[in-house]
């Protein structure tokens, strides 16, 4: 018999998400994803000084303020006609990269790992590592006091990693990862002042000049992190992926085969070359990566709490008018579609686009990054198998995130070498606010493709819009009835015990959803802004 299982709150993500699944005969038959919190960030920017945009939009999300601040800076650079100095471009890459590192580590260890590792297995640890023994002592103390919060309660399942040695090592890495991600934020604050909510990028460039000493301070932390990513993070992913019980997750959790990347990390001052390339993939055609064109983005609100008038619009002409009474609506998220299709964005989309361009020879062999790394890790057979099957599920999503983290951390060392102390960091044109202008800033954030748009009139912000990654991934159904990527990914997942739908949250969390980003829209009626859009 079919039954609806409601999971609210979905914890260990950013923001407020509710998931409903229909379970029949132990398998998910249907799924609905709902964003359940609304603020309205863009509205307060109207009539403000354009320079405020970066400080305000980075508060859209406290996990990745960097990506909003960076998109906002590129957006304003574009509106002011800035020529970005190389130092500024490199420092922006370095700090955005540092945030990818902190965000990816946080995601795997602190948001996802408790779905796989049995913390109580630590009680059976019999090894001699002093750190792990101390950890065992603490967990034993908590167990005795019957106070294992926040690690218990949890969904029960018989497939948690429970080998005491392996589980204890992973729990030890959970603790180490707290330090690693903290270090990534320290590294970032060298150039950007503080995290979360940083101050170091401004229209026209950045605020801190590279010096021998701040480069050295950055590099020493980066070296530690690179070692940790190579020897702990990437290895732990391989350990978890090697657990026989999880082998179904290589393909289970596939989002439907469409992937989109705007591209990110500029390699030249015009931004025409990117370290992570742009492109999109349809129906799992990994080796046939297509050229991205932003005009193909249309948003549907058939099942979102917005009026019918917001339906079917392109971002440049978008509109957002909330309607909490609307029939058939179940989310504050809109449903953006590319060529009418739902698209997964994020590390998996970026890595598949990169892999596709490398495999098809569009990126010459001497410039390839991912394919050689996959070979070096001995993953080529597995990857070929998945490409042939045309399905990429929960585990590939985690693995791609880790590989991307490694590629970026390695490249950051190269960018550090390219910094030139004493050379400009700022184009003063950034201070020259034109009376009327428009701008666009497209970047990649840890969770995927992000765009900011600005219209300046009378030297003030007339309109400011953001299109964010999680709206793509966690979107509800569109007007054709197509499910969003997360909804599709849940279909067919085994849920043997509806009281403990562990596989559902494993799958949702593999997308690293950020709901605060996804719902930041404004109300046109109340603030008088007529044209508004959210995704």
């Amino acid at each position: 018999m079919a039954q609806i299982v409601t999971i609210d709150p979905v914890t260990r993500i950013e923001g407020h998400l509710r998931i409903d699944v229909e379970v029949e005969d132990g398998v998910v038959k249907d799924a609905w994803s709902s964003g359940t919190m609304f603020r309205g960030i863009e509205m307060l920017l109207k009539d403000k000084h354009p320079w405020d945009a970066q400080q305000v939009t980075e508060r859209i999300c406290g996990v990745c303020p960097l990506v909003h601040g960076t998109a906002s800076s590129y957006n304003l650079d574009d509106a002011m006609g800035v020529e970005l100095p190389d130092n500024a471009r490199l420092i922006r890459n370095l700090c955005l990269g540092a945030n990818f590192i902190q965000s990816h580590i946080l995601h795997f260890y602190h948001l996802a790992a408790l779905d796989y590792v049995d913390v109580t297995a630590v009680l059976n640890y019999a090894g001699n590592n002093p750190g792990l023994k101390a950890l065992k002592g603490k967990i034993a103390g908590l167990a005795k006091a019957n106070d294992l919060y926040p690690f218990m309660p949890r969904y029960e399942s018989d497939d948690y990693v429970s080998d005491p040695e392996v589980a204890t090592t992973l729990v030890g890495h959970y603790v180490e990862a707290l330090e690693a991600r903290k270090k990534a934020q320290e590294m970032l604050s060298i150039f950007y002042g503080r995290m979360p909510s940083f101050v170091g990028t401004i229209p026209g460039g950045v605020t801190v000049q590279p010096t021998v000493s701040n480069i050295a301070a950055f590099r020493s932390r980066l070296a530690e992190l690179r070692f940790w990513i190579d020897n702990v993070y990437v290895q732990d992913i391989m350990t978890v992926a090697g657990v026989p019980a999880y082998s179904i997750f290589f393909t289970a959790g596939d989002s439907g085969g469409n992937y989109l990347a705007y591209g990110g990390f500029d390699e030249n001052s015009q931004g025409t070359e990117k370290f992570l390339p742009s492109g999109y993939i349809l129906a799992n055609g990994v080796s046939a990566v297509k050229t991205f064109d932003e005009q193909q983005i249309i948003e549907s609100v058939k099942h979102s709490w917005y009026t019918e008038d917001c339906e079917g619009r392109q971002p440049s002409d978008g509109k957002t008018d909330p309607d909490l009474e609307k029939d058939g609506a179940y989310s504050f998220l809109k449903a953006p579609r590319y060529e009418g299709k739902p698209m997964e964005v994020g590390p998996m989309a970026r890595m598949l686009v990169l892999a596709g361009l490398e495999l098809s020879g569009k990126i010459p062999e001497n410039k390839q990054l991912l394919v050689p790394l996959i070979k070096q890790l001995g993953l080529d057979a597995k990857v070929t198998e998945l490409v042939t099957a045309g399905k990429f599920g929960i585990l590939p999503r985690h693995a791609m995130r880790a590989l991307e983290c490694k590629l970026l951390a390695d490249q950051m060392d190269v960018w550090l070498d390219q910094l030139k102390p004493g050379e400009p960091i700022w184009d003063p044109k950034g201070k020259d606010i034109p009376s009327d202008s428009q701008g666009m800033g497209l970047v990649e954030g840890p969770r995927g493709a992000l765009g900011h748009w600005i219209t300046i009139s009378g030297k003030k912000i007339a309109n400011y819009q953001c299109v964010v990654p999680t709206t793509w991934n966690a979107s509800p159904r569109d007007k054709e009835g197509n499910r969003g990527p997360i909804e599709t990914s849940l279909l067919g997942l085994p849920v043997p015990d509806p009281e403990n739908p562990i596989n559902v949250v494993r799958c949702v969390r593999s997308f690293d959803p950020c709901l605060a980003c996804a719902i930041h829209v404004i109300h046109p009626e109340h603030n008088g802004v007529k044209e508004f859009r959210v995704v």
Partner: protein, 370 residues
């Protein structure tokens, strides 16, 4: 010994770190250690940490804590029962923990609220967990969402104290600029309606500094009372001093050496950011001495102005963020009250006077505010 959880030696270590965090004399370490030990023996104090219209920045900032570090807080110090960003449980198990704690430990738990409370449209702009009743989901009957406003009504009466975490929970912050639509309300105002005597501590900052939050919690637990608060309910031990008075660039300000081009910022010059919009002269927080991210840097340290993120006036009434203060304060000096800095207004007036006199090459008048 180390297999038995927290050792005596660790208590001494924690006590030392706690004293440093709270700015107390190291002579008090043995006493703090004893208090910590007693606290541990009677079970870790329960914490319920719920999220309203937040961005999770304060949760992420909390993870940057050093003394004690995040693992120590969670394993040794507090019983963090509900914290949606880190807890294992989801769905009914997760909100079931809140319900159980509220019932079993009434009067004992600390309620931390990250983000303000939207009260318009029956609270539907922010919900988590489920309540009695059903709603329709494309033809299916499913359980109803529970507004955070309803959670507040349920949890405030039994809370020992309420901590509003971050500028937006404390004062409405950025979401309050859209209050006409969502009814964004500061935590203090929501609590007052439920129980006007309930202690509420505003740990401001956008986001809050981990030391400000953990220091406040430790102070409360060690002393069994709320720390001294300023008129905005912020602990004076962290928000008692003007940034401008303690800024490492104050000498440049006094000498009239201002940063005007970011390419011109010879790292040794330490030029004052006043002309680039620094709000340090009207902001009360200990950032210049405490600094951020393991004391690696802070806003002014990165050649960027302080944006005043700890103030009730942030963001709206401190905009434009990159224009010098006179633009708002000099013109708007009469409405300093509406700006939310009554006393700071006077100080700012003095500063503005000082600044203009420097510009004109004159001496500041005797007895001026400074």
């Amino acid at each position: 010994m180390e297999e038995k959880g927290v050792t005596r030696r660790q208590f001494i270590k924690y006590a030392g770190a706690t004293a440093a965090l709270l700015g107390l004399s190291q002579a008090l370490v043995p006493e703090i250690a004893r208090a910590l030990e007693e606290m541990a023996a009677s079970g870790k104090p329960p914490v319920l940490w719920i999220q309203g219209q937040n961005c999770t920045g304060c949760s992420v900032s909390f993870l940057n804590t050093n003394y004690p570090d995040a693992a120590e807080v969670v394993l040794d110090k507090l019983s963090v029962r509900y914290q949606p960003t880190v807890m294992a449980a989801a769905g009914y198990q997760a909100f079931g923990v809140i319900e159980d704690t509220a019932k079993e430990l009434a009067g004992k738990y600390v309620l931390v609220v990250e983000g303000p409370i939207p009260t318009a449209e029956g609270g539907e702009f922010c919900t988590f967990g489920l309540e009695e009743g059903t709603k329709d989901l494309l033809g299916n009957k499913v359980p109803k969402d529970k507004p955070i406003e309803v959670w507040m009504e349920q949890l405030v009466p039994g809370a020992a104290a309420v901590i509003a975490l971050g500028n937006c929970a404390s004062f409405g912050g950025i979401p309050a600029a859209n209050a006409e639509v969502t009814g964004t309300t500061a935590v203090l105002d929501v609590v007052k309606k439920i129980d006007k005597d309930k202690p509420v501590i505003n740990v401001s900052g956008c986001p809050s500094h981990p030391d400000w939050f953990i220091g406040t919690v430790l102070y409360y637990l060690l002393n069994g009372k709320v720390p001294e608060l300023d008129r905005y309910n912020r602990p004076t031990m962290f928000f008692g001093k003007l940034i401008h008075e303690n800024c490492e660039r104050r000498a440049s300000f006094d000498a009239g050496l201002f940063l005007e081009d970011w390419n011109d910022n010879n790292p040794d010059m330490k030029l004052c950011l006043f002309k680039m919009g620094c709000k340090g002269p009207v902001t009360y927080a200990d950032c210049p001495t405490r600094r951020w991210n393991s004391a690696v840097n802070w806003c002014v340290g990165a050649n960027a102005p302080c944006h005043g993120c700890a103030e009730p006036a942030f963001y709206k009434d401190l905009s434009p963020l990159y224009e010098p203060l006179p633009d708002i304060n000099f013109m708007g000096i009469n409405n300093a009250e509406t700006l939310g800095w009554i006393a700071a207004g006077a100080t700012a007036a003095g500063i503005v006077g000082h600044y203009l006199y420097k510009q004109l090459g004159k001496k500041a008048p005797e007895g001026g505010e400074e």
